[in-house]
């Protein structure tokens, strides 16, 4: 390993070493606040390190990793999202479990897994990243052991993820059997000789799509999403919805563009069908759902369907649109789950519609922030979600994916209903039930308040002046 190799891979070391540091720290003394600070600092440090990368330079560590602008940008995005999740986790766990410190180890390791996914260019690193991520998630989902639903969700995710990993592994084996390579470039090189994908290879890809589709909760591999979202602690749900899915999407984009999947009708057809089904079924399922966490689960199914529109559009604009949409979607989703966490109490998460009734009158600021997040999810102008969706449509139109674009537009209309309904519920007058007292140290609330404030500011800023974010994305992605 050369010195440059090492310098490039430092971000992964920072994460792993901070995980070890936390472990040591716990064995000496359990201190939630300190662990939280270490976590946050290591994520910030990692991000600062990442920013120093030159976006124009592509560095490859054979055979596993590649550091290019696209990877660096998404790594930064993942780290920042993880930081935001950490911020909302603190207040959430402060009032719950006795052993809350180990959560941060898992959080950091899951982030590490996502980062590995983002930079991998080899099936081995891909699978390693995926498993680091998944294994951490099993425990994170079931972290609140005393809650039956949490246990159930963890177990379900464990079984289903293992099942889907089997598909991925078998798919890899078939691909290897055909091409004799586990490396993306090798596969791409093999494919250049063919105008049609050989059957064995196609079967391998198909099985891998099943696994990837599961991780992204695309229809018809989506059914775990609602149960797991509902059972997992709110910050963990935020993490699943953002970081874990983001890493997989980046991987998908990288692999697909490298092998130039756009020329193969079969692959395009599969993804088109999956995208349309995800948009529709996600929205239909959310339509009359009364559980806010489940609504967000279903909404995430359709949102990943939207992202696939730009993914299928391809080209540099498609990649830009995917990146931009991920940014907008991450801000919004973490924001929404952040509000959900702050409203949750010791016994259960605030996931019933009734918990939001009259929120506007009780806690106007909280309600305003949540409204902003929901409007962004719905894609209303002045929010990041609008620009993101606009970008997706622009990318789709650019390469004439009219079917997908029209489905996206139609689904935006359907989706509007359930987002607006939550807002409407917040407006309803709600009598009785006194405002619950703050039980924690005020600094805890300040932390969540500042986090939420920054998220909403970012949301509006990106929504009103998208040019800045666009230029950042262009700088990193165009290589």
């Amino acid at each position: 390993m050369s010195k440059t190799d090492f310098l490039n891979i430092v971000p992964l070391f920072i994460l792993t070493s901070s995980a070890i540091l936390i472990m040591f720290s716990i064995s000496v003394k359990r201190n939630h606040k300190m662990i939280y600070v270490i976590t946050a600092l290591s994520l910030v440090a990692d991000f600062i390190y990442i920013v120093q990368y030159n976006a124009k330079i592509k560095w490859v560590i054979e055979p596993l990793f590649v550091f290019d602008g696209f990877a660096v940008f998404n790594m930064g995005l993942i780290l920042m999202t993880a930081l935001a999740v950490t911020m909302i986790s603190f207040a959430y766990f402060e009032q719950r479990e006795e052993r809350k410190e180990e959560y941060y180890i898992l959080l950091i390791l899951a982030t590490l897994g996502a980062c590995v996914l983002v930079i991998s260019k080899h099936f081995i690193s891909l699978f390693l990243g995926l498993e680091i991520l998944s294994v951490s998630l099993y425990s994170m989902i079931a972290y609140l052991r005393r809650r039956e639903k949490s246990d159930e969700a963890g177990l379900k995710y464990l079984i289903m993820a293992a099942f889907s990993s089997a598909f991925i592994l078998f798919g890899m084996a078939l691909v290897y059997a055909q091409c004799g390579s586990l490396e993306f470039n090798g596969i791409a090189k093999y494919l250049t000789g063919y105008t049609q994908i050989p059957i064995l290879l196609l079967t391998g890809f198909g099985l891998m799509i099943v696994g990837i589709g599961f991780k992204l909760s695309l229809v018809p591999f989506h059914m775990w999403a609602a149960d797991v979202y509902e059972g997992a602690p709110a910050p963990v749900t935020a993490f699943i919805a953002t970081v874990s899915k983001g890493g997989v999407i980046v991987l998908l984009v990288r692999f697909f563009t490298l092998i130039n999947g756009y020329q193969y009708q079969s692959l395009m057809l599969i993804f088109t069908a999956i995208a349309i089904a995800s948009m529709f079924i996600g929205n239909f399922l959310a339509l009359r759902q009364r559980n806010v966490k489940r609504i967000l689960a279903y909404s995430s199914i359709s949102h990943i369907g939207y992202v696939l529109v730009a993914f299928l559009a391809g080209g540099s604009m498609g990649v830009e649109a995917v990146s931009f949409y991920l940014v907008a979607y991450f801000i919004t989703t973490v924001g929404a789950f952040g509000i959900l966490s702050t409203l949750s109490d010791h016994d259960r998460d605030a996931d019933h519609m009734e918990d939001y009734q009259g929120l506007l009158w009780k806690r106007p600021w909280t309600a305003a922030i949540l409204s902003a997040m929901l409007l962004s999810l719905a894609g209303i102008p002045l929010t990041a979600g609008f620009i993101g969706k606009f970008y997706l449509i622009a990318a789709g139109v650019n390469t004439d994916r009219w079917l997908l674009v029209s489905m996206l537009a139609l689904n935006s209309a359907i989706g509007l209903f359930y987002y607006i309904r939550i807002i409407a519920v917040m407006f309803e007058r709600h009598e009785g039930e006194e405002e619950r007292q703050d039980v924690l140290h005020p600094s805890v609330y300040i932390i969540s308040g500042v986090t939420m404030g920054m998220l909403v500011a970012l949301l509006l800023w990106v929504g009103v002046y998208p040019e800045w974010m666009m230029s950042v994305i262009r700088t990193y992605v165009h290589n």
């Binding site: 079984i159 099943v210 229809v219 018809p220 239909f284 339509l287 759902q289």
Partner: protein, 627 residues
């Protein structure tokens, strides 16, 4: 002083804002003080400005406050434009408005909605001022709609009674017909001129619109439509008599002195457009002439005191339209001002009468108030004299006489206009003194409550003096030839061109008007004082005509038949909106799919795994099929 122009509309607006925000927290004293005080300050500022204009009528004060919006080629400023014409209007609005505010403090004192009343009234004054001060037509339209809204709110002020709500809606909807025409007119103006700034349009008009051009005529007619709606002229006059459901000060301020004359203002303001469309201008005169006649005859048969005044207002505005139609702009504005004084006076007097008689509106149940309420009687008499245009001593004589003369003498006038105006003057005298005799003479029929206080009598006296004396600022050739007002107005509007060689007949016309007026008073005296027994006979011999006039010439019935009934019928057959069915269809399809897919989310693991397996089969089969 010029730089304080913006305060004129801003003060009432601030007053309205304070009253709205403080509603429920302010005492009646403070509310009244804010309401009347803010308008009083505006009146003081406009008085000072007015003195400056008297010295220098050609002054124009432009004040650009801020840019309102700028879209494409249209950039609209929040800018005020004060010239001799708008000066007359802001003087009347603020000064008469202030007197009416004072009056209202006592009149509305026992009303629960006291603060709300003043808030609306202040908002109205502000909107009306914006209307007449606007430098562009968009801002004017804002004021135009603002006064419409306030009119709606104030007609339905006592909203607990259902019929007041209906009256308010009627006024709002019918004026909306005119407003829509006006809006289309504004669009066409923008298309033709590329601007909506009034002065720019007026300057460009002679170049862009040739004499009698089709576009110009259509625009003028559309503007006339707006004016007709707001000013309750034929065929959109039906809302005004019902608008009397509002409190009397509202009738005095909005439905007599100011808002209903907005149409007169609009036409005078844009008169070059009408000069370029002779057909439209002629129609202004025709509408005025017909309206003044039919409203006058309707007024003859009413027994509700306020409805007499309402029809009389329609009729008097008809005179103003007639004057505008023959190009006598200065005469129209002069009559507007005098009318504002005496009609506000009459409404306030009527309101006071109705108040002391415990909300009795029927004139036939009044009588004998002459000695009980001397101040109200004498001021009312002055107002009535002015309305009937009693020769030589009343202001109304001088303003109306000028219109009669112009109807014949102007180049655009003709004998028919003159005859209509002359007959109208005769009818006016009859119904006015019928009202006076029924209300104040004869025997007392309803018990008189407590007498009225100073806040009611002072405005009456001041308006009485104005109704009497304000006429002397403009005397005809034959009587002293003093032309203060028309000289003043030449700064904005041209003097009327007279037909050649007609001056010599002016004295004849004045004489005939004077004789007819006195004859009208005589007839009223004969039927309502001397031979009251003949009244029933006369009525029964003309019962059909009487009913026809009483109902306002059947316009309501016709509109009901032509518009309301078919509309109600159409909406009744389309009760479950056909177009809605499509959207309902989307809803039920979505719900169906929701239910269908929700059933798959049953929480059972083996089912979920099956989902993945099915998905895998699907993916592989597509891959193989479309390889």
């Amino acid at each position: 002083m010029e730089k304080y122009l913006w305060l004129v509309p801003a003060l009432p607006f601030a007053g309205a804002l304070i009253l709205i925000l403080g509603s429920g927290k302010l005492t009646k004293g403070i509310s009244g003080f804010i309401g009347a005080g803010s308008v009083g300050l505006s009146a003081a500022i406009s008085l000072v400005l007015g003195l400056q204009f008297l010295r220098e009528p050609a002054t124009v004060i432009q004040q650009q406050l801020w840019s309102w919006f700028s879209v494409g080629g249209l950039s609209t400023n929040f800018a005020l434009h004060l010239d001799a014409l708008s000066m007359v209007f802001i003087f009347v609005i603020t000064f008469v408005g202030f007197l009416i505010h004072l009056y209202s403090i006592e009149f509305m004192h026992d009303d629960d909605g006291f603060t709300r009343f003043f808030a609306y009234l202040n908002l109205f004054v502000c909107s009306m001022l914006i209307l007449v001060l606007a430098d562009n037509l968009v801002l004017m339209y804002l004021g135009w709609e603002g006064v419409g809204l306030c009119s709606y709110l104030l007609i339905g002020f006592w909203y607990k009674e259902e019929k007041n709500g209906y009256a308010a809606r009627k006024a709002f909807i019918i004026t909306r017909v005119g407003d829509t025409a006006m809006a289309i007119g504004l669009f066409m103006l923008f298309q033709t001129f590329g601007t909506l700034t009034i002065q720019e349009i007026l300057n460009l008009a002679p170049q862009r619109l040739p004499m009698g051009s089709e576009t110009g005529t259509i625009i003028a007619f559309l503007l006339l439509g707006g004016a007709v709606g707001k000013s309750a002229q034929l065929p959109l006059q039906t809302w005004l008599p019902d608008a009397m459901a509002g409190p009397s000060p509202v009738s005095a301020l909005i439905h007599a002195a100011t808002m209903v004359t907005a149409g007169v203002y609009l036409i005078t303001r844009t008169f070059p457009l009408f000069e370029l469309a002779p057909l439209a201008q002629n129609w202004v005169g025709i509408i005025g002439a017909v309206t003044l006649l039919i409203a006058g005859f309707s007024a003859l048969t009413q027994f509700d005191l306020k409805r007499v005044l309402a029809y009389s207002t329609i009729s008097q505005i008809g005179y103003m339209f007639l004057a505008l139609g023959v190009g006598a702009y200065s005469s129209a504005i002069f009559h507007f001002m005098i009318h504002a004084f005496f009609k506000a006076l009459l409404f306030l007097g009527a309101g006071a009468v109705i108040m002391v008689l415990h909300h009795e509106h029927d004139m036939f149940k009044m009588g004998g108030l002459k000695d009980k309420l001397p101040v109200i009687f004498w001021t009312f008499l002055i107002g009535a004299g002015s309305l009937a245009a009693l020769p030589f001593i009343t202001a109304g004589f001088y303003s109306k006489d000028q219109i009669l003369w112009m109807a014949l003498a102007s180049e655009k006038g003709n004998i028919w206009f003159f005859l209509a105006a002359l007959i109208g003057a005769f009818v006016t005298a009859i119904y006015t003194f019928r009202m006076v005799f029924l209300t104040f003479y004869g025997e007392e029929k309803t018990h008189v409550g407590h007498p009225v206080g100073a806040l009611i009598t002072i405005p009456l006296v001041i308006l009485g003096i104005l109704s009497f004396a304000a006429g002397f600022i403009e005397l005809p050739h034959t009587l002293g030839h003093f032309t203060l007002f028309s000289d003043y107005m030449t700064a904005v509007v041209p003097a009327t061109e007279l037909s050649p060689g007609i001056e010599s007949t002016e004295w004849l016309i004045q004489l005939s008007a004077a004789v007819l007026c006195l004859a009208g008073v005589g007839i009223a005296y004969f039927f309502y004082m001397k031979r009251t027994d003949l009244r029933a006979e006369l009525k029964s011999s003309m019962i059909v005509t009487n009913r026809f006039w009483y109902s306002g010439w059947g316009f309501d019935q016709v509109y009901d038949f032509v518009f309301v009934k078919p509309y109600v019928y159409l909406s009744s057959i389309n009760k479950n909106d056909i177009i809605d069915a499509f959207y309902k269809g989307i809803v039920s399809v979505s719900n169906f799919f929701h239910d269908a897919f929700a059933r798959t989310q049953n929480g059972v693991m083996r089912w979920y795994i099956m989902g993945i397996v099915v998905g895998a089969i699907f993916v592989l089969s597509i891959g193989l099929l479309f390889q």
